[in-house]
Symmetry: C2
Subunit: 221 residues, 2 copies
DNA sequence: CTTATTTTTTAGATTAATCTAAAAAATAAA
DNA sequence: TTTATTTTTTAGATTAATCTAAAAAATAAG
């Protein structure tokens, strides 16, 4: 159990995991290069190595998928990342736009008992400060079905429950607009001209947001 | 401020720092090799690099000392290590013999605001679970004067306030003998034959400990 | 169904950290 | 104060992760 991989290997596994979303399970070399801020040639080298270790299924020129082992490893890193984010916000008082980079380092600390104790200390949270679900210690993810505001219809309502963009600049904006997690919204108008959307926030104030913002805020209907 | 060094560089700085104790301020290549579990040749290479960066004063064949910059960096790592140890014991419920290795990883996480917030969260502790003083955010260390039990005289009394050996096997033994931090002791006999020492623990129970154990338990008189 | 473009891989180098074996310097012993 | 021993450094390799430039494969366009 708990085979240990290098810092770099872990980052590649995580990148592949995040790129393997629903429909798009096979991931390309270039996608990985972009996500890891490396060049395609470097990715190819690493893919050979990960395939050798049975962490990915890799066929030359065809892209990669994670094996069960690789997926377990990736989910475990995600679990650690998200638990540390909860710690940073809930216990140390960081804001939700400040924790991503620190968690990016903390996620590589290797101790199963540490992470399980942290989980208990935090009260076994279901989601991180951005609404992303935290895998339990068996690796199971209880994902609520969320839709982008940009995919909602007129007169539809729901509660903001996540985001799909984690840059500080975006998160600060969302906060300033009062669209933090838990906020209830009702779509009042879909503006055809530029795709922007008008909504009522928490039953009272009116607000218009751009399509770009709407695409990155996730709602539970 | 807060120049960032590699994981490995940090470990060398820390090793040199711990080896530069009081009387012995100049540290040798072999000492560093032993502490870092590397070979002398590797140490020489790294010393050149650290000297180049002005973190150490290094003269070939003569040994090294830390520069002010190097010492600051080292103290900061020690601060992080000890604060994380407090966190692990006080908040996550680890035992004092379980935290060293995890803190060894956590000490390399790089974020000044993280560590200062952690410090506050923990109530700005003065010492770690082994009694070692925690440098404050300016790098100042408020070290209490401690003596080894092996250096005490008959009829002398004091309070156990630290250890100088961190292996799990030693710490578990100390705990089993009821000689944890805060315990009051009175020396009743110095046994000439093998250097072992008899003492009264917390005013009641009698105990004899070997010289080897006595050397690694520190007392505030 | 060729040709052009894009994507991916290979080949060959580079950097950081390490090693072994041999040479050089410092220290200890005779 | 020579000789022997120990310590330290140099020389030359190795491994992991990366890069650029060129070659090969896959995909898209004409």
């Amino acid at each position: 159990m708990s085979n240990t991989h290098s810092f770099t290997e872990e980052n590649y596994l995580k990148a592949i995991y995040h790129l393997s979303t629903g429909n798009n399970s096979v991931v390309s070399t270039n996608q990985i290069a972009e996500m890891t801020n490396t060049k395609a040639a470097s990715v190819t080298d690493m893919l050979k190595k990960l395939a050798e270790k049975n962490l990915i299924n890799y066929i030359k020129y065809q892209g990669v998928t994670l094996t069960d082992t690789g997926k377990n490893a990736a989910v475990n890193i995600v679990r650690k990342h998200r638990l540390w984010e909860v710690f940073l916000v809930e216990k140390l008082g960081f804001k939700w736009d400040e924790v991503h980079d620190i968690a990016e380092e903390l996620e590589h600390i290797n101790s199963e008992s540490l992470i399980n104790r942290l989980d208990d200390f935090l009260g076994n949270p279901a989601a991180d400060p951005h609404g992303d679900p935290i895998p339990d210690r068996s690796g199971t993810i209880h994902q609520k079905k969320l839709v982008r505001i940009s995919d909602m219809y007129q007169d539809q309502s729901g509660m903001i429950s996540g985001v799909s963009e984690y840059s500080s600049i975006f998160l600060k904006l969302v906060e300033k607009m009062g669209l933090t997690l838990g906020t209830k919204i009702l779509i009042t108008e879909l503006i055809e001209f530029d795709g922007s959307i008008t909504l009522i926030v928490n039953g009272n104030s009116d607000r218009t947001i751009s399509r770009e913002v709407a695409k990155n805020i996730l709602v539970m209907l």
